[in-house]
């Protein structure tokens, strides 16, 4: 019996990972050229989680991401040029340059925001799931967060309320072993920061290899199905690893060389490529995807670099729904 996803899905899983990989590498190059200001947090090495969920989600499902959210935004189909322009602080940016790398949002594509206060978006995802349940829309909310978020109060408040109300929400912990610069194991009471807490909210402990995109896809489909059929929330812990440091400022030198080597050898993108080749998918098909993605990232980069900075009028716009920022008459 063959449990593999159908060939179209396999190529979709591959393409989405490559998109994130090439985009993130480009974003890093642009930092080095000082075209991306401020900070940024890349998903290099963690592509499979966003790609697996992004492929499993329905078009009208909701994504809630963190400041490490480029990947989760792109896999929902948000336009790459607008995402790149947002990183560069340009007028054509996804949010007109007002959000930046840490706050990517594309409501049109179900990306309801990227949140830069650790844990804050878990309760917000609960609210979107509550609304979906109330409206009977059949939508689900998927909320991505890091291992560090499991030690903040909002995580526990959100899990409890989602479980009590049996809400259609999937919580996805991307456990990359480090909360910023500190090993998560050294500051957490249990070995599995998310899965070992699941029982506290009446949920099953779900651990998945976060570098295996098909495993993630399978878990995502099951959790989304459960959400849509009234089964309530799921808490998934996906084990993964950052190829780089926490943020632009961090070379990640606190990590043992051997650990880094081991995880680099388990690279989700090249590993999946090899798996598809072993299954007999012609290299040409995969090469074509790589070429198309590179062309798309090149075009997005060119468009972003050519775009003007945000119009000064944007500064005082969109505090309120009337489009302005006035607080007085």
């Amino acid at each position: 019996m063959n449990d593999n996803p159908c060939p179209d899905v396999q190529l979709e899983l591959y393409r989405r990972q490559v998109e994130v990989r090439v985009f993130e590498k480009r974003a890093y190059d642009l930092f080095l050229r000082n075209l991306v200001k401020g900070t940024s947090h890349l998903s290099l090495g963690q592509e499979a989680i966003a790609a697996g969920f992004g492929t499993a989600m329905r078009r009208d499902d909701y994504t809630f991401a963190t400041y490490r959210g480029h990947a989760h935004t792109l896999v929902r189909g948000a336009p790459m040029a607008a995402v790149m322009a947002e990183l560069l602080g340009r007028d054509s940016g996804l949010m007109g340059g007002k959000g930046g790398s840490m706050h990517l949002t594309s409501v049109e594509h179900g990306v309801m925001g990227s949140y830069a206060i650790v844990g804050a978006h878990l309760p917000i995802a609960v609210g979107a799931a509550w609304s979906a349940q109330y409206r009977g829309s059949g939508q689900a909310a998927v909320c991505f967060f890091g291992d560090g978020a499991t030690n903040i109060g909002a995580f526990h408040e959100a899990l409890n309320l989602a479980a009590v109300w049996r809400l259609p929400v999937v919580f996805v912990c991307e456990n990359n072993l480090y909360m910023e610069y500190t090993p998560i194991a050294s500051v957490t009471a249990v070995p599995r920061p998310a899965a070992d807490r699941a029982a506290g909210y009446g949920l099953d402990p779900l651990v998945v290899d976060g570098n295996d995109v098909e495993a993630v896809y399978g878990v995502a489909r099951a959790a989304l199905e459960r959400a849509r059929t009234g089964g309530g929330p799921s808490l998934v812990e996906a084990l993964t690893y950052r190829h780089g440091g926490h943020s632009r400022a961090d070379p990640g030198k606190y990590r043992p060389a051997r650990e880094v080597e081991e995880w680099l050898a388990r690279d989700p993108v090249s590993g999946y490529r090899e798996r598809l080749l072993r299954r007999g998918i012609p290299a040409k098909i995969l090469d074509d995807i790589d070429t198309e993605v590179r062309a798309a990232v090149d075009a997005a980069t060119d468009a972003a670099e050519a775009a003007p900075p945000p119009a000064p009028e944007r500064l005082l716009s969109q505090v309120w729904t009337d489009g302005g920022s006035s607080w007085r008459n």
Binding site: Y62, K98, A120, P123, N329
Partner: protein
């Protein structure tokens, strides 16, 4: 026309909006089965059912986070934070998430939600259940801040807040919950950002919000008996702020006194004073004077709490002394 207590007005205001709009839902601690710890929400569960009136755990971040997520996806939640002091527990949701998201997403996300909370002192609850947090709230860009001082204003301003497309914090002065007032029959809908001139006099302008409004009015009545005429302005809303009404009132008297329940530093009156000093300086005949709670946490003992919050006699004494 009916006589309603402020607490009954809260229930009527919420019910009015829930009957009108299926998207309006109520969430908070003890709001459903128990009818609210201040008895502001009894009967709502019975009328609207458990789908629309929901008891939440003691999880203020989850309450406001849930309200935010629901508001951005089509509902119009009213979230109760039992005491405004507890906003500190979920201030991230208020200041970082709810208030900023529209701007940061360049208008992609709308957050039509209301946070209601019991604010201020007078009930001898001590330092963690008595604070006046309007000065915290108005310092956050992206948040509207409303303080209705009468039952009728509460209903009309709450309705305006529910129908507003942006997040509104409604601060209910808990000392006023038992106070009765005239409430017209039928649907009430007010406008955010409009102050009300409650009486006029030529010698001084007193500006107040919330529980300080009836004190300012009483003080003005007493001073009138002594031949000193005061204009009293109830701002009703700090954001948006009705500067025009304020400046008109100051122009008519030449003296401005703010009556603030919040502790002294960075109270709303400081902003008012700054605006008046910048924009109405020629109209002033003397210094602007702020009458506030001292810069202290509120004490519990009744005698101490009464000393702390601006009283009718402190208002009267301060104004008369300043006017010489």
């Amino acid at each position: 026309m009916a006589q309603l207590t402020y607490r009954d007005a809260v229930r009527r205001g919420i019910a009015q909006e829930m009957r009108r709009d299926e998207r309006v839902v109520l969430i908070g601690e003890d709001v459903a089965a128990a009818g609210g710890v201040f008895k502001t929400t009894p009967g709502l569960l019975e009328e609207f059912g458990p789908r629309r009136v929901l008891d939440a755990p003691i999880s203020e971040q989850a309450i406001l986070g849930a309200a935010m997520g629901a508001a951005m996806t089509g509902l119009r939640p009213i979230a109760e934070i039992m005491f405004s002091d507890f906003l500190a527990v979920c201030w991230d949701m208020v200041a970082n998430e709810i208030a900023k998201t529209r701007y940061m997403t360049d208008g992609q996300v709308s957050l039509p939600l209301v946070i209601r909370t019991a604010n201020g002192g007078g009930l001898r609850f001590g330092g963690q259940h008595s604070q006046s947090v309007e000065n915290w709230a108005m310092a956050v860009p992206g948040l509207k801040v409303v303080l209705p001082a009468t039952p009728a204003d509460l209903i009309g301003l709450l309705a305006a807040a529910v129908r507003d497309p942006d997040p509104v914090l409604v601060l209910e002065p808990k000392a006023l919950y038992p106070v009765r007032g005239e409430v017209p029959d039928g649907e009430l809908l007010d406008t955010l950002g409009r102050a009300r001139v409650l009486r006029t006099g030529g010698d001084a302008t007193l500006v107040a919000v919330g529980a300080m409004v009836p004190r300012a009015v009483t003080a003005a009545e007493r001073m009138a008996e002594q031949g000193v005429g005061c204009t009293v302005v109830d701002l009703r809303s700090l954001v948006p702020l009705d500067v025009r009404t304020l400046l008109d009132a100051v122009a008519g008297t030449g003296r401005l006194f703010t009556v603030e329940e919040n502790p002294r530093l960075c109270g709303w009156g400081a902003e008012i004073a700054s605006i008046v000093a910048e924009e109405a300086f020629p109209a002033l005949r003397g210094p602007i004077v702020r009458i506030t709670t001292p810069h202290i946490p509120l004490p519990s003992a009744d005698t101490l709490e009464d000393l702390a919050r601006p009283s009718v006699s402190r208002i009267t004494d301060t104004v008369l002394k300043a006017l010489g």
